[in-house]
């Protein structure tokens, strides 16, 4: 190790020798950095899951433009839109087709009494092209009344049920006093708004949501004609519906606005954002403590080095070396621990808490920078002092 570092740095690896000389403090420092790294990675993991969860419903839709009431920020917190807008929109040049989308949350109780919520999408069977290919391929089965496609990743549902479903045995369950038959499965995964996702026909939807009517869907989805720019059509639509209480956006922009709302305006999003900042601060404080104590403990030696003709760059070098060692040795266990905890969280919550490559790199670079920054601060008091005043 020493020889390798010496070759790497071109001088004695004093930082390494200094750190490893005091084993107890070294271990504590590594544990501190590991903990801070873990904290940040956990918060980012949850944030990432929230992001995936917020965008999940949009990934089930296949449309260019969405028209909604303008009194909310997400897919589900708005008033309804009059279906008449769909017919008016179809008259706008460049709009090829459109469909009303009905969205709501249904709750059912499993035999053991556990309540399970399903985010339910209702589409006319003839509008199946407004859903993703996987859902569309199975949509015809929903022509039969009171049937549904159910998410195999629905939280808290016995996996055996889905096995039987896939084998062709429908799964009946009670919702609002009526029986709904799950006839096939789709794979979606956890969202924050419900335990799972379900697709039904518009007829079935209206039967289960007694207060809803076909004339007032949640959203209107539009596709533009081939070769026409959605933004051009968007402008025409906005001009046509000028002054009405509507939000007209491309589906992507609508989803992005929803995500921004979730992460910066909803309490949960803000809390996890704070978690990242707190983790970073904890990490900087720990490393700064370790490095500045280390500088203070070695002040006499450093003064001697300064008297021998070593300059500030040399001391920065030692402390940077220490910072990098702490960053690397602390980051690795922190990363591995977070892989483990991601797994645990995914199992416990069915939320898509996943590591992504960019996060591994960003957090490592962040750890390095935080460590180097604390190191630079820790050497400040050496810079101005006369060597004779340091003894």
């Amino acid at each position: 190790m020493n020889k390798l570092l010496e070759r790497l740095i071109g001088r004695l690896p004093i930082g390494w020798l200094q750190l490893s000389h005091n084993k107890g403090r070294f271990a504590a420092a590594i544990a501190g950095v590991a903990f801070a790294t873990l904290l940040v990675l956990m918060q980012l993991g949850i944030q990432g899951a929230m992001k995936i969860g917020s965008l999940m419903p949009y990934s089930l839709l296949n449309a260019d433009i969405i028209i909604s009431a303008n009194d909310g920020s997400t897919l589900t917190d708005r008033s309804n839109v009059a279906r008449a807008r769909l017919f008016q929109a179809l008259g706008v040049a460049g709009v090829a087709s459109g469909a009303p989308a009905y969205i709501g949350i249904l709750e059912f109780r499993q035999p053991d009494g556990v309540p399970t919520t399903l985010q339910t999408f209702g589409f006319s069977v003839s509008d199946k092209a407004f859903t993703t290919a996987d859902v569309a391929a199975k949509f015809d089965q929903l022509a039969l009344e009171n049937t549904a496609l159910i998410d195999v990743k629905t939280r808290g549902v016995d996996a055996a049920i889905f096995e039987e479903l896939k084998a062709g045995k429908p799964y009946p369950f009670e919702v609002n006093g009526q029986t709904l038959n799950a006839v096939d499965t789709i794979e979606v995964g956890g969202t924050f708004t419900a335990d799972g996702t379900m697709f039904v026909s518009d007829q079935t939807f209206l039967r289960f949501f007694g207060k809803r009517t076909s004339s007032a869907p949640n959203h209107i989805l539009l596709k533009v004609a081939d070769g026409v720019s959605p933004t051009v059509v968007l402008e025409r639509l906005r001009a046509k519906f000028k002054g009405q209480a509507l939000t007209i956006e491309t589906l992507d922009d609508f989803a992005a606005a929803d995500l921004a709302f979730q992460t910066t305006e909803r309490p949960t999003g803000i809390i996890f954002g704070f978690g990242v900042i707190m983790g970073t601060i904890v990490g900087i404080v720990i490393v700064y403590q370790v490095l500045s104590t280390d500088v203070a403990d070695h002040l006499r030696e450093y003064a001697t080095f300064k008297a021998m003709g070593y300059d500030q760059r040399f001391f920065l070098g030692i402390v940077t070396e220490e910072a990098i060692i702490l960053a690397v040795l602390g980051y690795i266990p922190g990363l591995f621990a977070s892989f483990g905890l991601y797994q645990v969280m995914t199992t416990l919550t069915s939320l898509p808490v996943q590591m992504d490559g960019a996060r591994i790199v960003y957090v490592f670079v962040g750890t390095l920078l935080a460590c180097a920054l604390s190191g630079a601060i820790a050497t400040r008091r050496l810079a101005a002092a006369d060597p004779a005043d340091l003894f």
Partner: protein, 233 residues
Amino acid sequence: MSAPALTLSQLDHFFGTGEARKQAIFDINLTLERGKLTILMGPSGSGKTTLLTLMGCLREVQSGSVKLLGEELRAAPEAQLVSLRRRLGFIFQAHNLHESLTATQNVLMGLQVHGKGNPAQQRKAARHMLGLVGLSDRLDYLPSSLSGGQKQRVAVARALVSNPEIVFADEPTAALDKESGHTVVKMLKTLGEERGTTTVMVTHDNRILEMADRIITMEEGRVISDELQTPKG
């Protein structure tokens, strides 16, 4: 040899500010020739350490002038001080070895300040130097497992390994018993002599006095006697 090793003129030094401001060095004028051993004597508090640190670029020169190896230290930029320090060797009252480095590594620090160089050659030079101070069987010991005298000898090796032009030693024997103290000082003198090094030493060891070329005595920040002599021993 061109300029003298050191030329001090009208050197004053003050500690503290305002009410607490106190003069520690008063109007010192001295010229030290190269290759000589000068001993600095005087009672405690007479300003020996202060003078030594002023001469060795370890303290900012406030008033008067210090010319070290021909270069003026007063108001010299940090970079110039750094490169001058590399031409000096310093031995302090306490050994000031780095506790995490072995004897050899501590001595290497005296070489690496001049740049990377050839690691194998540097290691060899460090070991050779430790041999000269009688520590060839303690090369890879950490300071914590060396005696006081051995530690101070490592410090001597570290100061001398890069063949400094001037060596400053401030009571290098203060923390040692009489015998090992004498060994260290004797080593410093002999090694300096062999290399033609200029040595300025603060010491209370009387046996060393007669080996010196010059003895300067201070009192209350002033030079009160300055004697040249022909060294014996």
